[in-house]
Symmetry: C2
Subunit: 431 residues, 2 copies
């Protein structure tokens, strides 16, 4: 095969431009590794006249990316427009229907509309690759789908959002509050002006739904992911976490049990003895646990033009060699429908911080409320202060059920001596 792989790119923002740069800068290397040239034949973006820092000589410009998906002289369409519906979806559908392979970095699209696209790709006997959609530059889709394919996967979890991990790391190391760090991250371009997708855990939940499907051979079930973000994490809790030997991370975790599949994204306390506790800053990491391989961890930058372009081009090289794998690990018709397990059934230890008035009987009231819900306390930190301000009481519990914990906290929050809404952070049991 020495005829070029012909590539059409829809979307020339940060990632799109990074992809063009990679394909240009490393073209000799790519030709050796792909066995043939990777050639951009067509491009489409919103603004034709914007200077993106690269030459578009030899590339045909399309104003309409959907028309490009249909008509371009290309083997593969690379979708880097973004968004769960609308133009990105149309572009992918049109490309697949036109017999073109699709490479996309669009986690939102796949989390919401993945199944129809997977089915469409399979019916049209073309490839739908999405390495860049999960954990940026980490080749985690390939690792789970191919590298660990011999294993029954028990659990997959990870740090799936670099913005949140950056914010949590900055809070801890710079001793600054969430709002302050977020503002700076926005100035530096690490966080979006509208940060909700990141800090509320939605982006991580989209990625988790794809990993979960891949790992367990189940249909994508994004709407079943229980999702909490990091807005409520305070510096005080970060400090207590350190003192107790934990580190607070926003984890996405999917686990298969006898009852079904748990898919959860929330900030939690991770024991510092686990390697994932040491994944800091903008890094992502994914841990896959298999019945034969044991624990594996994959770590790298989760976003940015370079890492994302690296993943996009890896997908292109696979296509160039005609290396094919079932999009979600098994054929579409073999994907299982497995019930999700609601968060109320979560079982594990908890960290609770209560801000209380320092007066007699407070601890008795609190511990009684936990006892009434069968929540057993493992340890407590209470330091008296000389002031009349609220003082923190920190409790770690043994394993208990989420709904019991929630009821206990609900009762505790009604106590007069409890001054703020209780803070609860799950302590994640890893293995």
């Amino acid at each position: 095969m020495s005829n070029p792989l012909r590539i059409a790119i829809a979307g020339l923002g940060n990632v799109g431009s990074g992809t063009v740069k990679l394909l240009t800068q490393n073209s000799d290397l790519l030709r050796k590794r792909s066995g043939r040239p990777l050639k951009i034949t067509s491009i489409s973006a919103r603004d034709k006249n914007k200077d993106r820092g690269f030459s578009t000589d030899g590339m045909i410009w399309f104003n309409d990316p959907v028309a490009m998906a249909k008509e371009a002289d290309a083997d593969v369409l690379v979708e880097l427009i973004g968004g769960e519906e609308g133009i990105a979806k149309e572009v992918c559908e049109q490309a697949l229907k036109s017999g073109k392979h699709v490479v996309t970095a669009n986690k939102a699209l796949l989390a919401v509309n993945g199944e129809s696209l997977v089915s469409l790709a399979e019916n049209n006997k073309v490839v739908l690759n999405y390495e860049a959609a999960v954990a940026g530059g980490i080749p985690i889709v390939k690792a789970i789908r191919e590298g660990l394919a011999g294993n029954s996967i028990k659990r997959i979890y990870g740090i799936l959002n670099g913005t949140c991990n950056y914010i949590l790391t900055e809070m801890r190391t710079q001793r600054r509050a969430f709002d302050e760090v977020l503002l700076e991250a926005q100035k530096l371009g690490y966080a979006e002006a509208e940060p909700s997708m990141d800090v509320d855990g939605i982006d991580a939940a989209q990625k988790l739904s794809l990993l979960s499907s891949l790992a367990f051979g189940t249909k994508i079930n994004f709407s079943a992911v229980y999702t909490e973000g990091i807005r409520r994490i305070s510096l005080l809790d970060i400090d207590y976490a350190e003192e107790l030997g934990f580190r607070i991370k926003l984890l996405g975790s999917a686990q298969r049990t006898a009852e079904g599949i748990e898919q959860r994204v929330y900030p939690c306390m991770v024991d510092q003895s686990f390697p994932i506790a040491h994944v800091e800053g903008a890094y992502n990491a994914v841990v896959g646990i298999g019945d034969f391989v044991g624990n594996t961890m994959f770590q790298g930058l989760g976003a940015g033009a370079g890492p994302t372009a690296s993943a996009v081009v890896a997908d292109l090289i696979d296509i160039s060699h005609d290396r094919r794998a079932p999009t979600l690990g098994v054929s579409y018709n073999l994907l299982e429908n497995i019930p999700d397990i609601e968060i109320g059934k979560h079982v594990g230890p908890y960290y609770v911080r209560l801000m209380v008035a320092d007066r007699p009987g407070v601890i008795a009231d609190i511990t009684a409320a936990f006892r009434d819900e069968k929540v057993s306390i493992e340890s407590m930190i209470q330091r008296s202060r000389s002031t009349t301000e609220a003082v923190p009481v920190i409790l770690n519990t043994h394993d208990c059920k989420e709904y019991e914990m929630q009821r206990a906290l609900s009762n505790i929050s009604t106590l007069d001596s409890v001054i703020e809404e209780p803070t609860m952070i799950r302590i994640e049991t890893l293995s």
Copy 2:
């Protein structure tokens, strides 16, 4: 494709039996992921009558694995015999010549005879897969060859020997000497009766030579790997490392520079702020640094029946789907011959421990010896003791050249007041 992939397995030791167990236990899952059954048709091992805990019904027994490689009714031969020459080599050669794909876990064979086998596979248009040969269960060959294929790799390094990492971890956490921990590791089966392959760094060097070839597209150059093991690492140095913010790890590192390729295996001091410093026990980890992806790290169990079988079966699933990649990342005829850089040209900071008599002028003599070789000292720890015993003097240097350091140490070792041979451990500069 619903016809089975027919597999012949040569060697039924720990890994061979683990592979049979995986193929049996996960057969339904494998059929879904492979699109067809994976079927063991033939086996060969030293002792036919040994009870290995699995049924050999439906498998044809061969006393001679070379005959099996030639005659078996199989699409793939799995070589799990081991050894860099002899029967393992003959089996692989015969299988490739007979048009069978080969999957092997044999790092020694590939490090020493890899090139001729790669060429043979290519000429016979069959696949030679070796995921299990490097870092056990970690799908690192696939990650470098495919997942990071868009990148020009600048450096690849890692913890490539689980036995050494286990010993170093035990020494640190249990505060026990090397000999004692090695003896226990041998009793527990974590180390061989003849431990030299592991503790002298040879096994790690074999793996490094494969990773280096893959990462840089160069011919395998095992004999050029500078190799030191961990026998000389003392508890004292482990303690000082901790105090200085380092951790001692046996690292294999390959780096491409303007002058050529550095390939090195030695124990070194790693800053505790790097994730690889926290990879403990029997775990392996590999860091790949690419021009677009940045730093990525892959971690998992580096040995054992389960993890190794996981890697072998991943290779089989690739073959089952006819997913092919050039064995060393690019075609055999494109592999470059790049000069190796001798260890004397290494540049970096060093840790030096000297055991000295506590008398006037000692430090002046030592610092003069370093000055004479232009070695600049960054920090020094010297604690006086009340006894007349030798006292340790710990020095960290700024970047200097290895041959200057060696000359300085050689001069220092002749000083009367220096009681033991100096201990030198390189401080590894990571990024």
